[in-house]
């Protein structure tokens, strides 16, 4: 299959601040990666740098063999990145359907398929973006990324602040998209346990540096590693 | 860059920023000499001095406090009308007239500053523009007082302080205007180099941080806006005293735009920008404007576009930029 994403020595941040000093990462096609770490450690900055809305100081980003470093965010999106931003950022003055059609490209994911995946969205298709519940917004944000028919899906904290029942529904959708349909994906989460069952691999980010990388299944068996990097306290030193 | 480890060094470094640079001394000596050396240009020089004062007034709010105004002529015009009416009704002594105009315009500034404080840059632009338009309409409609579109004439101009006649004496008039400019420049210079002046620069640079240091941002802005309005009023009064008629052109948009342009040409935030800018502007206008008015308008528009395009890169105006760092006591980047 080959590599879908290759990041070489990326140095990025916002304004003058460097959040990621020197980050390299590869992702095989069809694979999914859980990006873990406490907040403030640079996970979102990494995702935002892949889509191109941060300040890049150096390094390269290669998507499916094509160097996209010099491309604008909209060009990167069309080159095959589907982005689910951290705060969901549903377009509030567009209806549910318009949120999808405004960005849709031709491919196997279309509006109807998104509605099949999330019947709740179909029920609310004429509602405006700002009239949706948090869970519905998250479904729409995922659907909006899917109708771009991306090669790589970026999901930034897609479970944040959602009720457990919605979380389960979304996790089922992720499993279907990532496991069954083999769409390459990077999933950012603080809550490791929830998503390690979905992804193939996991990387832990601390202060902008990848400090641990392993297969998800392996990491699940090592709660002490997770505790060390993600929990409170100083477990990793003792 | 060197390490500062003692308070004495720090005090010296700060005092150096406030000290008069020899270039400044030369500049004012040259200005004084122009009273006697350039008799044929006195009317132009008088114009330059008056516009300089007006531009300095705008610099106080724009260059130091960061308030963008498209209607600064409101205070200029108000000062002019007040000075003229005061001279007609009470006394024609010019310095008294200036004082009255300063107080009146300053009060107008104080009252209107409450409107200007609100909102973003954009709202400020619109509100300042609106204030000037309202003032224009008022002056236009209250023709029983202001002469309306015909202008206000018959303003008596007595000798300055009872000793120096300036009516129909270009040399004396220029000397008087220049002296006023110099005194007010020195005052402005002291203000901008004071703790108060520093607080303005701080508010302009980062209002959020300033307020979290304990600066009452709004009070400081009200203060400087009022001072600037008083300055503009004095400039207006000076023009009224040195020209036979006070008219609506004192308040119109063109005047607000011109003074902004002059200041931008010369550079903001070091006080001399207003003087240099108005000199360049008026001299250019004298030569280019003689061809045709459209010609002048086109080139002034062109200059604005070019300045706006390159102001940030500081290409064309790097000379003034360097000057500003030298005499403005600014930290070198």
């Amino acid at each position: 299959m080959g590599e879908i994403l290759r990041i070489e020595n990326l140095r990025a941040g916002y304004g003058e601040a460097v959040v990621l000093p020197d980050l390299s990462l590869t992702l095989e096609a069809g694979q999914s990666l859980a990006l873990l770490g406490r907040n403030g450690m640079g996970k979102t900055t990494l995702v935002n740098s892949i889509i191109g809305v941060t300040r890049r100081f150096g390094g390269k980003i290669i998507l499916d063999g094509k160097d996209i470093t010099a491309l604008r965010p909209d060009q990167r999106a069309l080159a095959g990145i589907g982005w689910v931003p951290q705060e969901r950022n549903i377009f509030k003055s567009l209806t549910v359907t318009e949120n999808l059609t405004a960005v849709a490209t031709d491919g196997k994911w279309n509006v109807e398929r998104v509605f099949q995946l999330f019947p709740r969205l179909a029920e609310r298709r004429f509602n405006l973006g700002n009239q949706l519940s948090g869970g519905e917004q998250q479904m729409l944000a995922l659907g909006r990324a899917l109708v771009l028919n991306p090669k790589l899906l970026l999901l930034d904290e897609p479970l944040e602040g959602l009720a457990p029942i919605i979380v389960d529904e979304l996790l089922a959708a992720f499993r279907r998209i990532i496991r069954d349909e083999k769409l390459s994906a990077i999933l950012v989460e603080q809550n490791a346990q929830k998503i390690l069952g979905v992804t193939d691999r996991a990387a832990i980010l601390e202060r902008g540096v990848i400090v641990h990388e392993a297969a998800s299944s392996e990491l699940r068996k090592q709660p002490e590693v997770l505790e060390g990097y993600l929990g409170v306290g100083k477990a990793k030193r003792t | 860059m060197h390490t500062i480890s003692t308070p004495q060094e720090a005090t010296q470094a700060l005092a150096k920023r406030r000290a008069w640079h020899w270039l400044e001394v030369v500049f004012w000596l040259a200005a004084a000499a122009s009273v006697f050396l350039l008799p044929s240009q006195h009317s132009l020089l008088t114009q330059i001095a008056i516009w300089s004062l007006f531009a300095i007034s705008l610099d106080l709010i724009l260059g130091y406090a960061g308030i963008v105004s498209l209607g600064h002529a409101a205070y200029f015009g108000f000062g002019a009308y007040v000075a003229a009416l005061f001279a007609i009704n009470y006394t024609g002594e010019p310095v008294t007239g200036l004082a009255v105009a300063a107080v009146a315009s300053g009060l107008l500034g104080l009252v209107t500053s409450l409107l200007v404080l609100r909102g973003s840059d954009l709202t400020r632009l619109m509100v300042t523009l609106g204030i000037a338009l309202v003032m224009y309409e008022l002056a236009n409609q209250m023709s029983w007082l202001t002469g309306g579109a015909d202008g206000l004439t018959g303003m008596p101009v007595d000798p300055v302080l009872g000793v120096l006649p300036i009516s129909f004496r270009p040399l004396n008039a220029y000397g008087y205007v220049l002296a006023v400019l110099f005194v007010l420049f020195v005052v402005a210079r002291r203000i901008v180099h004071s703790p108060f002046g520093m607080s303005l620069r701080a508010i302009k640079g980062n209002p959020l941080r300033a307020s979290q240091i304990g600066v009452p941002n709004n009070l400081r802005l009200i203060a400087v806006y009022s001072i600037a309005a008083a300055y503009a009023g004095i400039a207006g009064a000076l023009l009224a005293q040195t020209t036979p008629v006070v008219s609506l052109t004192y308040i119109d948009f063109q005047r607000s735009a011109d003074v902004l342009l002059m200041l931008i040409i010369g550079g903001t935030g070091y006080l001399y920008g207003g003087i240099i800018g108005s000199a360049l502007f008026l001299i250019a206008q004298k030569f280019i404007g003689n061809v045709t008015p459209q010609y002048w308008e086109f080139w002034i528009g062109f200059a604005l576009v070019v300045i706006a395009l390159f102001a940030r890169d500081r290409g064309v105006f790097s000379i003034f930029e360097r000057l500003r760092n030298i005499v403005g006591g600014k930290t070198k980047p």
Binding site: Q190, G231 | M1, I4, R201, R209
Partner: protein, 249 residues
């Protein structure tokens, strides 16, 4: 004696409630850390304390005095200082000018328009001392905007300290600072004067546990748990919040 206290503090933006019924008590002289996952409302709380935002409900007390309705600059005058998550410094000024200015404002000398700026020897001397303490002596006359981010960060904290606060709010002091310059920030935070009450927001648990003597955990706008570092470290509910295990499991 409580340095800072919030009573049923609440903030609403439309339907969102970033701060909900928060009763926070910070004791005099405490080293108090505020932690919690993303979107827990930590920065909103700081903004409420400093008066950048107005609360929808509840009171805020500083040293027993109700400051709920005071403007930001009035709160500063009563002893609250803060640093920002993203540097808020005066880029055009030099660090020397910035610190001298901050001290002058603390002494309410900012309305003096006829004295020269920097002509007060006592203030300049204090500024030089603060600069030395914060490792800024070698860059005092440079333009702040041209300094590296770490130095600006040091100035950011120095400006807050220059106000001689009773309560200092530190919003992620090490955020955005490159690894190489990090230890300087940490040393500075550790060396803050003992009589200053500090409320710290931080994600870096090394910093939190190395510094705090009391920790409050904020989750979804509510105060979730509060206690000594040891208690927090071993509290399964806190671990659950961070790791995503169920609280009972």
């Amino acid at each position: 004696m409580n340095a800072l206290e919030t009573i049923h503090l609440e903030k609403r933006f439309g339907g969102i409630v970033p701060t909900s019924d928060v009763n926070l008590v910070v004791r005099e002289g405490a080293r108090h850390a505020l932690i919690g996952p993303n979107g827990a409302g930590k920065t909103t709380l700081i903004n409420l304390l400093t008066g950048v935002l107005k609360p929808s409900k509840g009171r805020i007390k500083l040293g027993g005095e109700d400051i709920t309705v005071l403007k930001p600059h009035q709160r500063v005058a009563r002893g609250i200082s803060r640093t920002f998550q993203i540097n808020q410094v005066f880029g055009e000024l030099s660090p020397l000018e910035s610190i001298v200015f901050a001290i002058g404002e603390r002494e309410h000398l900012g309305t003096r328009f006829w004295r020269g700026f920097g002509s007060d020897d006592a203030i300049v001397a204090e500024a030089v001392a603060i600069a030395k303490q914060f490792g800024l002596s070698d860059v005092l006359t440079a333009q702040t905007a041209s300094l590296p981010y770490g130095k600006q960060r040091q100035l950011e904290i120095a400006l807050a300290i220059a106000g001689k606060p009773r309560v200092l709010l530190l919003d992620e002091p090490a955020a955005g600072v490159p690894e190489a310059e990090r230890h300087e920030i940490l040393e500075i935070v550790a060396a803050l004067p003992q009589d200053v009450t500090v409320l710290l927001i931080e994600h870096d648990m090394d910093i939190v546990f190395g510094f705090a003597d009391r920790i409050s955990v904020l989750v979804e706008g509510k105060l979730f748990v509060e206690g000594e570092p040891k208690e927090i470290e071993n509290d399964p509910r806190v671990r659950a919040v961070y790791l995503g295990e169920r609280a009972d499991g």
